[in-house]
């Protein structure tokens, strides 16, 4: 008994010593899979309420997405014309909007599996191809990632050949052209609060 007590922490240490360097060098697919698996584990946890799930998934998503890079490209030419405060405000709103969108879909989850098809790495960019298996279809979802320090962070999601950031860029530039930056901000704020309210009600 004493021996067992003594050995267990030692074993944990040994395991960590082996595992830590592997974790640090994990490729884009391994890192993305870690996040996806963690999110799926939360979704499948029957003991958690919707609010608790939301709370747990939020940091997972935020840690894996490169929101500043996405936000900058989404605004495109208008990013340069925006003031520093506007840029900052846009990044915050864009991050919140994407997060609310992602988390708003939690309730729709009904046991779908995510299959990792493969990864291609090209310099500091990578693409990881996945398939979401529903009962009636396979939906291809490809993630594009950029390496920042030790991390591979998602900067675009391509669902059935439609790039999310390209789509946002197209929509947002139209809205800015018609209603200006403040019009865009107002619409984003409204949508974020609606998504959050909808999530709580459902």
């Amino acid at each position: 008994m004493k021996h067992a007590n003594f050995l267990y922490p030692l074993l944990v240490f040994l395991l960590l010593a082996v595992a830590a360097p592997v974790c640090a060098q994990a490729g884009p697919q391994a890192q993305l899979k870690e996040t996806v698996d963690a999110v799926l584990a939360v979704l499948r946890d029957g003991g958690l309420g919707a609010a608790a799930k939301r709370e747990r998934i939020s940091p997972l998503v935020r840690a894996r997405f490169d929101f500043p890079t996405m936000a900058q490209w989404v605004l495109g030419p208008q990013w340069r014309q925006a003031s520093a405060t506007e840029q900052e405000r846009f990044v915050v709103l864009f991050s919140d909007l994407l997060e609310a969108t992602y988390i708003g879909r939690i309730d729709e989850y009904s046991g779908e599996e995510v299959v990792f098809v493969g990864e291609q790495i090209e310099d500091r960019r990578a693409q990881v191809d996945t398939k979401v298996m529903t009962r009636s279809a396979e939906i291809p979802i490809n993630y594009r990632l950029v390496s920042r320090g030790e991390d591979w962070l998602v900067f675009d999601v391509i669902i059935e050949n439609v790039s999310l950031v390209r789509n946002y860029r197209s929509s947002f530039s139209e809205i800015v052209r018609r209603e200006g930056m403040n019009g865009l901000f107002a619409q984003m704020e409204q949508r974020i609060s609606e998504l959050k309210a909808g999530g709580k009600a459902g």
Binding site: N5, Y8, P9, L10, V12, L16, A20, C23, A24, E34, S58, P59, L60, R62, A63, D66, F67, P68, T69, Q72, W73, G76, P77, W79, R80, E88, V91, V92, S95, T101, G104, R105, E108, R124, R125, T134, R135, S136, A137, R144, V146, R148, D151, E160, N161, V162, R166, N167, R169, S170, S171, F172, S173, E174, I175, L184, Q187, E194, L195, G198
Partner: protein
């Protein structure tokens, strides 16, 4: 002894959590993401190009009117019917979808051939033979499930695109939704290869069958349009761009 073990455990836990979740410990509401990326590297090309992604839409007011019409049709007629129809067990509805898809093989096969995609054409033909026999008249899809032969969704709009015919301005069709002149012409052409008008005598029968196909498909869809309406600032703009992106990609594939 006890204390030592506890200390080991705690350290172990910290080590385990710290590297993987260092970022998670940061308060998510504090705007970690506001700071510019640590380095200036941008994974995008043409970062600041004007109109890198604009869809040509000169008749937007008309299109928005059609979009509005389709939206009402969806929410007040098609979707309630599809929702009620969901009492039919899902496997049965999947089989109905397989059946319609199998019947539509001539359209896909002809367009594979027109684009000289012979391996795809061969697979479409093979899928038809296998699914019609082994798949009990197309109700099941063993060609995909057992043999891994994927369906190749080709249509005349894509064939015209393959031969370099431009899409033209965005066009929202009543009932059929997002399109453009090229794909609208393609739709009419594909109608010639659609077997249903040849088997059924009356036009209303064809329309009924087509509507049923659509309702069945909608019943299997997991409320995609509702999600777009809920999440997007301007659903019209979202669908316009998504349609253009998707069609371009389908032509390239």
């Amino acid at each position: 002894m006890r204390l030592w073990i506890s200390a080991c455990w705690l350290m172990g836990l910290c080590l385990l959590i710290a590297p993987a979740h260092a970022q998670n410990l940061v308060d998510p509401t504090a705007t970690r993401t506001v700071a510019a990326p640590e380095d200036d590297y941008s994974p995008f090309e043409n970062e600041f190009d004007e109109d890198v992604v604009a869809v040509y839409d000169p008749i937007e007011p008309f299109n928005r009117a059609m979009f509005w019409f389709n939206d009402k049709l969806y929410f007040y007629l098609l979707k309630p019917v599809a929702r009620a129809y969901r009492v039919v067990p899902e496997p049965a509805r999947v089989s109905v979808g397989n059946f319609f898809s199998n019947v539509a093989t001539p359209v896909r096969l002809a367009n594979c051939l027109l684009q000289f995609r012979f391996p795809d054409a061969g697979r479409e033909l093979g899928r038809f033979v296998v699914n019609t026999t082994w798949g009990v008249g197309g109700l099941f899809d063993p060609a995909h499930k057992r043999l891994g032969w994927h369906k190749k969704d080709e249509d005349l709009g894509q064939t015209l695109g393959y031969f370099g015919i431009p899409a033209g301005p965005y066009l929202v069709l009543p009932l059929f939704g997002p399109s453009n002149p090229r794909d609208a012409v393609g739709r009419i052409g594909d109608g010639v290869l659609d077997p249903w008008p040849y088997v059924l005598d009356e036009t209303w029968e064809v329309i009924a069958v087509k509507t049923y196909d659509r309702v069945n498909w909608l019943s299997l869809d997991r409320d995609t349009y509702e999600a777009i309406k809920r999440e997007q600032l301007d659903p019209y703009l979202f669908i316009r761009d998504a349609y253009a992106q998707r069609r371009d990609a389908m032509i390239m594939e």
